[in-house]
């Protein structure tokens, strides 16, 4: 994972980015960030992030749209809500991370060789189609998508153990009323 370091000129910034993220995250409080760093120090995954949560908030406020949307940080957020419940300015940081993820997917600028966005997209696709997700199909799909057969081979011993203890099924799960779900999801997207 590389850290992005680049000089930005004001023309390259998007002053409306803050408002977009505020709306998408339903967190109007982002401006009130005092850069205290409580979020970063509460974050179990900060050590792996290219920008800590505090920096993501600062970059969002500053309109660094490209940097934020391409960052690995939101995909390394495990949604533990530690930062969110501790932020002295009541910023819904976890929800901001979710908002960034959704925007990055919408704009197709998420880190594409990174397994997490691929996994989320695949899982979401499977469950909106069948109504349920079955883990085996997801794993297969995932490794094919990230073109990482070694990953699949590495998973084999675990898969075997799960089979032995009856904890993995090869069945493709699905709901009965797929039609209703499909119609609902279609309508929701057309009319919102």
């Amino acid at each position: 994972m590389e850290t992005q370091e680049k000089v930005y000129y004001e023309e390259e910034l998007n002053p409306e980015f803050l408002d977009t993220i505020k709306e998408l995250s339903h967190s109007n409080e982002i401006d009130r960030c005092i850069q205290c760093g409580t979020c970063s120090s509460s974050c179990p995954d900060a050590a792996y992030m290219d920008f800590t949560p505090r920096k993501i908030i600062a970059l969002t406020k500053g309109g660094f749209e490209e940097t934020v949307l391409k960052s690995f940080t939101p995909w390394l957020c495990a949604s533990c809500y530690n930062c969110q419940v501790r932020c002295p300015s009541q910023i819904k940081i976890t929800d901001v991370m979710y908002a960034i993820k959704r925007k990055a997917i919408q704009e197709n600028v998420y880190p594409s060789r990174f397994p997490i966005p691929v996994m989320y997209k695949e899982m979401h696709k499977i469950l909106t189609k069948n109504g349920r997700s079955s883990e085996l199909w997801l794993m297969l799909n995932l490794y094919l998508k990230t073109l990482n057969p070694i990953g699949l081979i590495k998973m084999a011993p675990l898969g075997l153990k799960l089979m032995k203890t009856g904890r993995m099924s090869l069945k493709k799960e699905s709901i009965k009323n797929k039609k209703q779900l499909k119609k609902l999801l279609k309508a929701v997207k057309e009319n919102t």
């Binding site: 998408l24 179990p44 995954d45 792996y48 390394l76 495990a78 949604s79 533990c80 809500y81 530690n82 969110q84 419940v85 819904k92 976890t94 979710y98 993820k101 959704r102 997917i105 397994p115 997490i116 966005p117 996994m119 989320y120 997209k121 899982m123 979401h124 469950l127 909106t128 109504g131 349920r132 997700s133 079955s134 883990e135 995932l142 675990l158 153990k161 799960l162 203890t165 009856g166 904890r167 993995m168 099924s169 799960e173 709901i175 009965k176 009323n177 209703q180 779900l181 119609k183 609902l184 999801l185 309508a187 929701v188 997207k189 009319n191 919102t192």
Partner: protein, 295 residues
Amino acid sequence: MKEYIYYPGCSVKTNAKHYEESVLPVFKILGMELQELPDWNCCGATASMSVDEEKAAAINGRLLSIAEKAQKDIIAPCAACYLSLKKANQFLKENSEDSEKILKEMKKLDLEYKGTVQVKHPVEVLLKEIGVDVIKEKVQQKLNGIKIASYYGCQVVRPFEDFDDMDYPESMDMLVQSLGVETVDFTAKTKCCGGALTANLEELGARLNYIILKEAQKKGADAIVTLCPLCLFNLEVTQDNISKIYDEDFKMPILFFSQLMGLAFGLPKEELGFSRSLIPTKQIWNKIEIGGTNV
């Protein structure tokens, strides 16, 4: 008290079968026969929320609507399902432009939702509604002799505050204590297991779970109990990797609180899914047999 309808979610039907195998009989013994929510769909967990908020609200909305029609509240054993449903419930009740539109579309498809359903976790219902006294009456065999670290993870305790304390909850400790189990002072009880990331990011997953396992070991726990399928899965499967990366062997059994409850209620251990553990559970049986006393 409204009655509950049971929302299993995908995990308890696959990798966490032993959760369902123990939680349903336990509730039955306590006089609550939980019926499954008809034709339930997956809650989407962190995945759908990361991809599409309206769709995430709608798929959970379908579940809330089905429960409302049955005039029941939802009981959801999986922490991720619990939080997804609660978040969607809040979103749909907000009266925002988006939520109104989603509700309108739901109504057209015979999925009207007025917002009357509450979402609860089994631990909440056991402790706050059924109560420790009733539970104690059902105990046939005290589980003295074992020490347990109870691990809650993140998503039942945060961001909503109504479950218990966000950093140091004690509900599950109190539950297993009522069975005669000794619990350790486990400060890592709400540290993050990495959730959905752990399966794909080995180093991160190993580190986060190492912290939790090591703390439990240092406190002298014989096993960890948890209330979340994904936490249980992560704490089990990372133990192999941890021994490679940190050169430390953990053989820490990870159990669902409901398995211990079933055991104390006198159900045969073969029916409670202990054999599904990926980590040998022998050390627990030895201890319970030495220290266990019939009441």
